[in-house]
């Protein structure tokens, strides 16, 4: 009784209790780990293929000629030689085939072969690629044993860093995971603690309010960082996610994750204060998380959005977290290089905590 009351001990006891509780909560584990991992696995396997052109060879076409042989050696082209005319026509209309090709021998001498190509408006982009592939092949075949009169193009390719789909998707999923943990987790736990008078019972002990918030924050940040580390390591070792500077990159990403989850927890505090009942928490939380999930460059680069939408994207905090994560992971930027992104997140943090202080309810 005589020993002085220890606030640190109280805070850590709360952090420990909260961490245990989070790890046993199915929704926390699903949102923080399962969802992001499923997306990463799906995109991890889809990614890296590049484009393929599906070209049907018309029935009755000559098959043994230099044009078909050259097309067969071209890796972006997938030739189908034994389809029926009826099927080919249908597939062309749907865009399942990008083009129909037929080659016939010229009975009158030169040129030796006519190559007829039928494109489809259902697949114009791929058609254009095919057009240039064919022009290239035609040029090479026509100039065999001839010295070029004007110029010969000598192309080489610089060996660059391979930017895989995972390098784009993983930071986005990581950001989404932090957003869900911060918003949903915080909103639910503080609402539940208030509703079930758990906080009131805490107030009957000598614990400070700041210890309750701090203990909860330590647990949630700890859990979010473990989740982030897990996602990064799975991405790196299973799907070749690029970590330019290895462990240092991971460390920088975890610092960004901490900033992110602290900002997102602010939204959670606001939601827990606004919610009138437990069932209103998911809709209010979704109003905050869903637009960011879709517009913050989680799946697509925001450059792909229409011009009027981009300013909205550029106003959201998750955009800057995703952006900073990608720069750090793929370009090897350090935290100072992404100071602008961090600054905008911090501004969001200041704003949202100012609102949280007004809306948060203890009882």
């Amino acid at each position: 009784m005589s020993q002085p009351y220890n606030h640190t001990k109280a805070t850590l006891a709360l952090a420990k209790a909260s961490f245990r509780s989070i790890t046993r909560s199915p929704s926390a584990v699903i949102f923080t780990l399962a969802f992001p991992l499923i997306f990463i696995i799906v995109f991890g396997f889809i990614g890296g293929g590049g484009i393929k052109l599906d070209v049907a060879v018309a029935p009755g076409s000559d098959l043994n000629n230099p044009v078909i042989n050259a097309l067969e050696k071209t890796s972006v082209i997938r030739l189908t030689k034994n389809d029926t005319q009826e099927n080919i026509d249908k597939s062309l209309e749907k865009g399942a085939y990008d083009a129909l090709i037929s080659v016939e021998k010229n009975p009158n001498g030169l040129p030796a072969y006519f190559t007829n190509v039928k494109y489809t408006s259902a697949s114009l982009t791929n058609g254009n690629v095919l057009r240039s592939v064919l022009n290239d092949i035609a040029h090479q075949l026509n100039t065999v044993n001839q010295k070029p009169a004007v110029t010969e193009i000598r192309a080489t390719t610089v060996t660059g860093r391979l930017h895989r789909t995972i390098d784009f998707i993983l930071p986005g999923q990581l950001g989404f995971s932090l957003l869900s943990t911060g918003v949903f987790g915080t909103a639910f736990i503080f609402f539940a603690l208030r509703q079930n008078l758990v906080i009131k019972r805490f107030f009957a002990t000598p614990v400070r309010r700041s210890s309750i918030v701090l203990g909860e924050a330590i647990a949630r940040i700890g859990f979010a960082l473990l989740g982030a580390l897990f996602i990064i390591l799975i991405g790196h070792f299973c799907f070749n996610f690029t970590l330019i500077n290895g462990a240092l990159t991971v460390l920088n990403m975890l610092v960004l994750a901490t900033i992110g989850v602290i900002v997102f927890m602010g939204f959670g505090f606001v939601v827990s204060g606004l919610a009138k009942s437990e069932s209103t928490i998911p809709p209010i939380s979704n109003i905050i998380t869903l637009p960011q999930f879709l517009l913050s460059g989680t799946f697509f680069s925001i450059n792909a959005f229409p011009a009027w939408l981009q300013p909205i994207s550029r106003a959201l905090p998750l955009t800057y977290l995703n952006d900073a994560m990608r720069k750090v992971a793929f370009e090897g930027a350090n935290l100072w290089d992404v100071k602008q992104q961090i600054l905008i997140m911090l501004l969001w943090g200041i704003g949202i905590y100012a609102v949280a202080v007004k809306t948060f309810k203890w009882e």
Binding site: K16, S21, L197, R201
Partner: protein
């Protein structure tokens, strides 16, 4: 009785919620090492009074001291010497009883063994259970265990036996008596007069925010009889609860 030392003293306590006058000038003292009951209908102001003494609620006016400490200036010192069981309070989700007791030990800054605390309320075999998996009587006993963590001088129990079956209720009376016998003062509220009569050393009747009677149960009953009161029906040597207990057995099942 008069020379007993007051551990809680409340004088002219008033609490208004906007227009509603929940407590209107309550004065009473709780003596050291007694079981003190606050009785009265719902809405009489029992819980409000309790929560003001527990420093959980602000008062409008009046003086309250707990073990010589003023609730206005020494709230956190008071919290360290009292144990509080709230009506219908829940506990941190997803934790088992041992983990909850560890949490409260941290909140009180107390070094306790969770299993010893559970043994005090006879819940050792439920150590790994979650709070919501417990029966009504077990929940109340666990709540009481959390009030004992800081070896408090006073514990407050708000309707500890509401909703319990007769066996669980009697079991809880035994537990509360043991706590008093080990030197802790107990303040409780109840709606059950038989409970107050058997358990409480002194009771106060609260009605519409005022105390309308305060004495030992015996004295209050004698006073009523002396005023000429007679029960309409002749009192038998046993009541229906005695029948219930004798038919279903005294030992406690859950």
């Amino acid at each position: 009785m008069t020379d007993r030392k007051a551990i809680i003293s409340v004088s002219n306590l008033v609490k208004h919620y906007d227009d509603f006058k929940a407590v209107q000038g309550l004065s009473f003292e709780v003596y050291e090492n007694e079981i003190f009951g606050l009785l009265g209908p719902n809405g009489a102001g029992k819980t409000t009074t309790l929560e003001i003494i527990e420093t959980l609620r602000s008062k409008t006016s009046g003086e309250v001291t707990v073990d010589g400490l003023n609730i206005d200036t020494n709230a956190s010192a008071i919290k360290q010497i009292i144990g509080v069981q709230l009506q219908a309070a829940g506990y941190y989700p997803n934790l088992n009883l041992v983990e909850l007791l560890e949490l409260f030990a941290g909140l009180y800054g107390a070094n306790i063994s969770p299993m010893e605390m559970l043994a005090k309320v006879n819940l050792q075999e439920k150590a790994k259970a979650k709070y919501k998996e417990l029966s009504g009587g077990q929940k109340q006993r666990f709540s009481i265990a959390t009030t004992l963590i800081n070896s408090p001088k006073i514990i407050f129990l708000d309707e500890p036996t509401t909703g319990l079956d007769p066996q669980a209720r009697r079991n809880l009376w035994d537990l509360i008596s043991e706590i008093r016998n080990s030197g802790t003062t107990v303040v409780l509220t109840t709606h059950y007069m038989d409970e107050a009569e058997q358990l409480c050393d002194r009771v106060a009747f609260v009605e519409a925010g005022k105390i309308i009677a305060l004495d030992t149960p015996d004295k209050l009953i004698d006073n009523l009889i002396a005023s000429g009161f007679e029960r309409k029906k002749e009192v038998k040597a046993a009541n229906l609860e005695d029948v219930f207990i004798s038919l279903t057995g005294k030992e406690w099942r859950e």
